[in-house]
C-alpha cells in the first residue's frame, strides 16, 4: 500500500512538472502551428544548466536564471531558424529535428555523456500519508503549480497575454487591430522555451541529468497536449497530471514499460474517439 501511495504522489509531482513543459509545447503549437520536436531537448538543457549553475552559485539562483536563459535562447532560435521556415509545418519539423540534434550534441560535447544526479536543494523528509516523503519533491509540485497559475494569470490579465490569445483566436483580425503579430509569435516561442527550461530546472534534482533525457519527455508532453485537446491549455494540464498519476499507479504493480504502453493505448483511444481531446466541451 505504501508503494502505491508513494508512486501515486510521485506521479502527481511529475505530472505537474510535465504539465508546465506541455503548456510550453501547447502555446507554441497553438500560435505558430509548428510541431516542435526540440521541445524535449529544451527541457534537457534546463536540467543541465540548473545542475551547472547550482554547482557555482546555488540552486535558487539557477531556478531564476534558467528560465531567463530559456527565454533568450527561444528568442534567438525563433529568429534564426524558425521564422525562415515557418511557411510549412513539415519544414519546421525538420528544422526543430536539426535543432534537437545540435542541442543534444552540444550538451554532450560540453557537459559530457555521463549521466549525473543532483543533490536535493532542500534535504530531509516529512511524514505524509504514513510514509516519509522528500521535502524537495513537495516543493517542486507546489512551485510547478504556482508557475502554471502564473502562466494562466499572465495570459488572462496582462496586455501581452491578451495579445497572445488574440493572435491564437484570429490572426488576421489581430493584425488588423495593430497587434505586432510577428513579435507576439517570437515572444510566444521564447515563453514556451522558457517554460521547458524551467521545468528542467525544477526537475533537475529528482531526475537524472544527461543529454538524452529530452527524448523521453517529448512523447509524454505531446501525449498531454493531445489528450487534453490541441489548443485546450487547461485540458493539457489536466491530461498531464492524469497520465502521470495513471502511469505511477500502474507501475506500482507492473513494470514501468507496461505503464507506458497503457498510457499510449489510452491516448490512441482518445485520439480516435474524441479527437478534440478528453475535455472538449468542458472548457471552451
Amino acid at each position: 500500500m505504501d508503494l502505491v501511495i508513494a508512486l501515486t504522489i510521485n506521479g502527481l509531482v511529475w505530472g505537474l512538472i510535465v504539465a508546465l513543459i506541455a503548456l510550453g509545447l501547447s502555446i507554441i503549437f497553438g500560435l505558430l502551428d509548428i510541431i516542435n520536436v526540440a521541445h524535449g531537448d529544451f527541457f534537457m538543457v534546463g536540467t543541465v544548466l540548473a545542475l551547472v549553475i547550482a554547482g557555482t552559485t546555488g540552486f535558487w539562483i539557477a531556478l531564476v536564471l534558467v528560465p531567463l536563459i530559456g527565454l533568450a535562447l527561444g528568442l534567438v532560435i525563433e529568429r534564426l531558424v524558425i521564422r525562415p521556415t515557418i511557411s510549412a509545418a513539415s519544414l519546421t519539423i525538420v528544422t526543430t529535428f536539426g535543432l534537437s540534434m545540435i542541442l543534444q550534441e552540444a550538451v554532450r560535447a560540453t557537459f559530457g555523456a555521463q549521466a549525473r544526479r543532483m543533490a536535493a536543494p532542500i534535504p530531509g523528509t516529512v511524514p505524509l500519508f504514513g510514509l516519509e516523503y522528500d521535502v524537495y519533491r513537495l516543493f517542486a509540485a507546489v512551485f510547478a503549480m504556482l508557475c502554471i497559475a502564473a502562466f494562466f494569470l499572465f495570459l488572462s490579465r496582462t496586455r501581452l497575454g491578451t495579445w497572445i490569445r488574440a493572435v491564437r483566436h484570429d490572426r488576421e483580425t489581430a493584425t488588423a487591430l495593430g497587434i505586432p503579430v510577428t513579435r507576439v509569435c517570437a515572444f510566444t516561442f521564447g515563453l514556451g522555451t522558457a517554460m521547458a527550461l524551467l521545468g528542467g530546472a525544477i526537475a533537475a534534482p529528482i531526475t537524472t541529468v544527461e543529454f538524452r533525457t529530452g527524448v523521453d519527455i517529448l512523447p509524454v508532453s505531446f501525449m498531454a497536449v493531445v489528450i487534453g485537446g490541441l489548443g485546450n491549455l487547461k485540458g493539457t494540464v489536466a491530461a498531464a497530471i492524469l497520465l502521470a498519476v495513471l502511469e505511477g499507479l500502474i507501475s506500482s504493480f507492473a513494470d514501468p514499460t507496461l505503464a507506458r504502453i497503457t498510457s499510449l493505448a489510452v491516448m490512441s483511444g482518445v485520439l480516435l474517439l474524441k479527437p478534440k481531446g478528453l475535455f472538449a466541451g468542458a472548457t471552451r
Binding site: 510541431i35 520536436v37 531558424v81 525562415p84 521556415t85 511557411s87 510549412a88 509545418a89 513539415s90 519544414l91 519539423i93 525538420v94 528544422t95 529535428f97 536539426g98 535543432l99 534537437s100 540534434m101 545540435i102 543534444q104 550534441e105 552540444a106 554532450r108 560535447a109 527524448v215 512523447p219 505531446f222 501525449m223 493531445v226 490541441l230 513494470d255 514499460t257 507496461l258 507506458r260 504502453i261 499510449l264 493505448a265 491516448m267 490512441s268 485520439l271 480516435l272 479527437p275
Partner: protein, 336 residues
C-alpha cells in the same frame, strides 16, 4: 518533354553509377564504402515510404520505423526462432510489415495532418515498448543476432560476400523504386494526387478518400518493411532501437531534405546525409552538430528539397526558352 527527359537521364545516371560503384570501389580498395552505399540504399526505402505518404497523399507519418521494425524482426525471428531460409524469412518480414500497416492504417487514415502524425508516432511507440519488454522474443535493447542464411546454395551465392550482398540489395531497392515510379504514374497514383491536393473535391468526383489513403499507407508500410528486412539481412541483427520515433524522424528529414513528391528525392536526401555523416564523423567527434546545421540550412534555402531545386532549375530553363518566343507570358508564369 525536354524536362522529363533530363529527369529520366538523372535517374539512369544514378542507377548506373550505383551499379558500377562496387566494382570501382573494389579496384581502389575502398571496401568500407561498398557497405556504406548498401546502407544508404536500404535507408532510402524508409525515406521513400515517408515520401509516398507525405509527397503523394499529403499525410505526414512520424511512425514509419514501426513497419521498418516489423520487416526487420520478421526476418530476424524467422531465421533465429523458426529456422527459415533467406527468402521465406524475407517474405515473412515484408508480410508482417504490410499486415501491420493494413491494421494500423485502417485506424490512422481516419485522422489527418497533426492528428495523423501523432497517432502514427503513438503506434510506433507502443510497439517499441512492447519490443523492448518482450526480451525473450526480440532481444529487447540488446537486439537479436543471427547468422544469415545462404542466398542460393546451389550457385554458392552468399550474402557474406560484400559484393554479392551489394547487388542483392541493389536489385531489390531498384525494383522498389521502379514500382514506386509506376505506381505514382498509374491511375491509382492520380487518385493519390487528387486526395493530396483537395480531399473534398476528390470525394465529390467519387474517390473514396479513406480507401485511397489506406492503400497508400499499406504500400508505404510495404516499402518500409522491405527496407527493414534488407537491413536485418545486411546487419544480421535486429534491435528495438530501430523502431524508436527518432528513426522515423530521421526518415522524414531525409525525405524532405531530398525533396518530397519526387521519385529520387528520398534517395538523394538519404545519400547526402549518410555520406556527410560518414565523412564528418571521421574528422570531428561531435559531428551531429554539423549534421543538424546542414539539415536546417537545406530546408532554409531549399524548402522543396535538393531534387526540388534541380527540378525548378530545369523547368525554369525550359520556360525561359519558351519565353523568348512569348515574352509577355513569362513574368506571369514566374510570379505564379
Amino acid at each position: 518533354m525536354m524536362a522529363s527527359r533530363i529527369k529520366w537521364a538523372g535517374v539512369a545516371v544514378i542507377a548506373a553509377g550505383l551499379a558500377c560503384a562496387p566494382l570501382i570501389l573494389e579496384q581502389t580498395g575502398n571496401l568500407f564504402w561498398i557497405n556504406v552505399i548498401a546502407e544508404i540504399m536500404i535507408w532510402s526505402l524508409l525515406a521513400a515510404s515517408v515520401n509516398l505518404l507525405l509527397g503523394y497523399v499529403g499525410l505526414l507519418s512520424f511512425g514509419q520505423a514501426l513497419y521498418f521494425g516489423f520487416g526487420m524482426y520478421g526476418v530476424a525471428i524467422g531465421v533465429s526462432h523458426f529456422g527459415l531460409g533467406l527468402w521465406p524469412a524475407f517474405f515473412l518480414g515484408v508480410g508482417a510489415a504490410s499486415a501491420m500497416a493494413a491494421i494500423s492504417g485502417a485506424v490512422a487514415v481516419r485522422l489527418t495532418w497533426h492528428y495523423f502524425a501523432i497517432i502514427t508516432v503513438v503506434f510506433s511507440l507502443i510497439f517499441y515498448f512492447v519490443a523492448m519488454s518482450a526480451k525473450s522474443i526480440t532481444g529487447g535493447d540488446d537486439g537479436l543476432s543471427f547468422s544469415t542464411p545462404a542466398l542460393w546454395e546451389a550457385a554458392g551465392l552468399s550474402l557474406t560476400d560484400r559484393v554479392t550482398q551489394f547487388y542483392f540489395i541493389y536489385m531489390i531497392v531498384f525494383a522498389c523504386f521502379a514500382a514506386f515510379a509506376l505506381l505514382v504514374a498509374s491511375p491509382l497514383g492520380m487518385r493519390f494526387a487528387a486526395v493530396r491536393d483537395n480531399e473534398n473535391r476528390a470525394s465529390l468526383i467519387g474517390i473514396n478518400v479513406y480507401l485511397t489513403r489506406w492503400i497508400a499507407f499499406v504500400i508505404a508500410g510495404f516499402f518500409a518493411g522491405v527496407g527493414g528486412a534488407l537491413f536485418a539481412l545486411f546487419g544480421r541483427y535486429a534491435s528495438a532501437s530501430y523502431m524508436f520515433y527518432h528513426v522515423s524522424g530521421e526518415a522524414v528529414v531525409w525525405s524532405i531534405v531530398g525533396g518530397t513528391g519526387t521519385l529520387l528525392g528520398p534517395f538523394v536526401g538519404t545519400a547526402l546525409l549518410i555520406l556527410f555523416r560518414e565523412v564528418i564523423s571521421g574528422i570531428w567527434e561531435n559531428y551531429l552538430i554539423a549534421v543538424g546545421a546542414l539539415v536546417i540550412l537545406v530546408v532554409m534555402f531549399a524548402p522543396r528539397g535538393i531534387v526540388g531545386i534541380f527540378n525548378d532549375l530545369i523547368s525554369r530553363r525550359e520556360r525561359s526558352k519558351e519565353g523568348r518566343e512569348d515574352s509577355e507570358i513569362e513574368p506571369l508564369a514566374q510570379a505564379d
